[in-house]
Symmetry: D2
Subunit: 356 residues, 4 copies
């Protein structure tokens, strides 16, 4: 293994007059390689180093990124003054410790979702980042997809109207984690998208779930979020489904959006809603809601890989050129909702208040 750990002489390439952001990737397991690949291929960032405890993974990192410095000791990586920022792509229960050490070492941080596994940890991390004046971003990758970016524009333009409901289904075929349950694994994706699109504060969360495969972790759960107004949000997350479904329906007073990530070419569809009650003479106790239904539009979506957009955004946030779309505060909100869901789950499904 020695040769793998030999540090190459670092040569900074320059581009457009600017020095690329030098990034170290901590954790080269399931998701880290994707982040590393995008950091390596983005002009404004340089994949400087990769740390992982596993020799096997380091060997994989070597093959894919012969130019990066590899180490099994994260302390070495954090101690390197030439590294500007780190990506933390390790299991959730390690996020707090690693991010705190990275921030204290003066690094900017992009950490995989969820930000942390407790509200207290997440709050401390956000607070520390603020005090250190460092960027803390959470890798809520879906925010950077073409579909979510397009939805964001509809919301910003006021085209959705009042949001009536946000209904999300994310059901999967059998990739389990066993140190955490399906809520912690899948719900952060959808909750972060919802929070990104909708500003209303969440009042309470209820959740029910069940354990069928592993006696310790829920493999199916339903979350319901209530807000101050009549809006409802609902999330179905499931590791044990026969088919893969990733669909969100957003019912607004002006438009309804259907975002189906499983669709190859028309991931987002936009419908006029504008339901109006009008009595039918056919039947005195039934009322037809007349949709002012017009055309259905599947808008063109940008095809750039979400992670590529996210890495470029992270660079710009670090450089102070863009406001963070997925900063620690958003990550903290997600953790607050998940933790409330977890408490509701334990209570048998009673609604649990969410701190503002």
């Amino acid at each position: 293994m020695t040769s793998l750990l030999t540090r190459p002489s670092s040569i900074r390439s320059t581009f457009a007059g600017a020095v690329p952001l030098r990034i170290g990737v901590i954790g080269y397991g399931y998701w880290g390689p994707n982040l590393a690949r995008n950091i390596a291929s983005h002009a404004g960032t340089e994949l400087a180093a990769i740390a992982d405890l596993s020799p096997k993974r380091l060997a994989g990192a070597r093959a894919a990124h012969p130019g990066a410095w590899l180490t099994a000791d994260v302390r070495e990586l954090l101690a390197d003054p030439e590294i500007d920022a780190v990506v933390v792509a390790t299991p959730p229960e390690t996020h707090h410790d690693l991010v705190v050490r990275a921030l204290e070492s003066g690094k900017h941080v992009l950490v995989e979702k969820p930000l942390a596994t407790t509200i207290a940890d997440a709050e401390e991390m956000v607070d520390l980042a603020r005090r250190c004046g460092r960027t803390l971003s959470v890798d809520h990758t879906f925010l950077f997809t073409g579909a979510v970016r397009r939805m964001k524009r509809y919301f910003e333009a006021g085209e959705v109207g009042d949001v009536y409901y946000y209904d999300s289904t994310r059901i999967n075929l059998g990739l389990f984690q066993h140190q955490t349950n399906v809520i912690w694994d899948l719900a952060p994706h959808d909750i972060s998208i919802m929070l990104h699109l909708i500003d209303d504060p969440v009042r309470s969360v209820s959740a029910v779930g069940a354990r069928h495969v592993d006696a310790n972790v829920e493999n199916i759960a339903y979350l319901t979020l209530q807000f101050e107004g009549p809006m409802l949000a609902h999330f179905h997350v499931n590791w044990l489904a026969p088919t893969k479904v990733r669909r969100t329906i957003i019912g607004g007073s002006k438009k309804m959006l259907v975002y189906d990530d499983g669709e190859a070419s028309e991931k987002l569809k936009v419908y006029d809603s504008g339901a109006k009650l009008c009595a039918t003479d056919e039947d005195i106790y039934r009322t037809l809601v007349e949709y002012r239904t017009g055309d259905v539009l599947a808008p063109r979506l940008e095809k750039a890989e979400a992670l590529a957009v996210e890495v470029a955004h992270f660079e710009n946030v670090v450089r102070g050129l863009e406001a963070p779309l997925s900063g620690g505060e958003l990550g903290l909100k997600v953790v607050r909702i998940i933790e409330a869901a977890q408490r509701s789950l334990l209570s048998g499904g009673h609604p649990v208040e969410v701190a503002a």
Copy 2:
């Protein structure tokens, strides 16, 4: 209108040695015409009479069924000794009164779902039918579709295994009722299917919903049913969706079923499940659930119209030839669950116990 109300001399046709069951239809609004048409075309039943308060509807009944006796006065119909059975297809809040009068007049009854609007009413109706020795059936039409009948056979043959979850989505485009909410309107369909397939007693129900169009009735709701064991059932009902979805996923330990009523030709699909935990060496904190996934089967379904099957079944139940699939007891169970859901809704989503 007099001519419409003139009673024709009744001539009983005979067939296969048996006299057809003479049926009166009470209520010729939204659903009554479908029942009337199937009663008229089934060999074992005769559409003897139709009662409705509306002259306009009676005129429609006349055009479609020139041979049936029409009346605006349901008492006349119930008083006719030549009528063996009645179909009650009036608004839910009238079911109790009409069914009680029909049973007391010695008629067998097939009543539209829901059986009644309160548990007390439903219990009284079931009790009365038992005491009178008359058939009380509830028109849970979906039980008679090819897809549900095929699913029933899978369950009876033990092919599904332990049921992990029952997940149902029934979302619609804008046909509202305004004396009742979306739960009372749509959930009886899915709850009756679930109760038909699965014997486990429901322990508690929680429900949340919201009102967006009509200030008095919920147009969206989510119901969660908990059982003694780890099974979960969940129902999404929604009048205000951009697309029509009618899909149920049943996760069992042996098979998973996807019943999509919106599919033209493959409404039911059967998947092997049999998930087994097995560690992957790729990633120590992730576990792949290995499905013993085999072929996906879309079994052939009988194409007979559900109402036609149901009318024939009702005839046989009245004649004592078949046990009721959708009798008053099932209808009562549905009402118990719906009423518990209603109470949970009012409580803000807290789970509510369901009486056994």
Copy 3:
């Protein structure tokens, strides 16, 4: 049967100051009942009479249309001076004889597709209608669907641009005719739609087909139409397919249309085309055609039943209020193409010229 054939005293209802067009339906087999129903329900037409040779069918007609005069003798119907127009819904080989007799009796005519089974017959019918000053319309029902009407508007507005190709697939499950082949049965639908949308004259037709079930008639065929310019049209018709597909792709220089009649809610989709050649530096011998791809639009379509629109249109054509969309000339063009296809089929697939 006598009662069925008794002629009721005819009482002409009036509406909006105008006398409804009195129509007789000849042939009450597969399609006739649909026409009869729409004639009966349209305010501007009256279903005056129905003729069919079969007592069983006349009994069906009686049940559905108690007010119409029924006869087994078409001569009686044609001789009735109070009948303004007839619908001929009999087998294709009888069209010529019946239409000629109807026109000679002074009736306006709406005849099922195909207009006739030979070009000579079709020409004679068109010519006779012109000489008699009577309307001769062909029931190419699809022209009156919401999707085809919407496509027509795109063409009329010049939004499709130059048409590159017209590719149609109409494959079915197992409803055979056995006095004719699949080309005569299915291709008139698609050829009439194409001729309705596109003005370019067809130069030649080639067709191949095969017989697998019935030794006398082709159950699958492919037709290719060549035009003066580079446009191609192609039709796949098939009685023996495992699934039902009814899809047309129209490739234009500005827009591409996909018309999928099997889609429940989005039958028509509109794509920007505007392909432009541009070299990629990735690969010197490959060129990416850059679509100026924008949004995909599924325009709202009118939901009126096509036959209802067609019956209203026929009334207006007879009354001189609208120009015929589907007159004898169009029907003749369809027959010319089908007959050329038939000759090509016999020749083993050689292109056959089509008379202008």
Copy 4:
């Protein structure tokens, strides 16, 4: 560039007692990298060398395969006695020359489809390989997909019955070649699949096509193949379609197969066919073909990457362990059909005989 061209000292790794097959890849453009990657990752083969004229591509090859010897001069590669076999992934018009030189250098060859651009060239190549006793395989990749392999098993087991028709659609969005037309580009895929599954000799080919974007090459074409018996095969290939469709319908007397490569999870569906004529009393001139329709089956397909299977197969063919599935003879048959299609195209669509 010198460093790129420096030849590393070759060290042969051994596995399971056998020396891996050392393979050189000629052409590292569009498809070459995929072949190189699979050769590198397969245990039984070693990616020994890569030749390409473009320095840019060689730099890409270097990054991806630091261990392979790179050269801009194919002669060097062919002269290397330690290279056992070559993959030729260059433009079609270069295949003949390169393959001949490779065979004459004693190499086994896997060449991209089409084998050659003329029948004469292809015949010479096949003949030369036979004389040299070297393997000549053609990279008809689709033969190695899970779906085609599963179809092959249905055919081998006699479960399809007599083949009535083979209907293929392969339409694409805008990746053009400009030294060849859409037939040469896309049809070899489907023709090779068909020849792999079906033994009947092709008698004649007709083809029509049109040029809309580039005045020199057809971007749309329809091919029809006629056989001795009543079977028909038909291919629609199109570079200029709004959606991507890759669907084949195979109608057999016992089973019908629908192979839809665009489906994410159910690429292959199997239907019972067994149409039987039976008269309906509904309508004397219509006949319903009764399908003995049973369940629809979407069989489980092996998920291995087709190219990985193909590389392993090529190794085994070279080692004499397996008979070639996609040898030069199959490649020659494909070229014979394509060349006949090309001649038919020029003739305006007249059928052209295919040499046996």
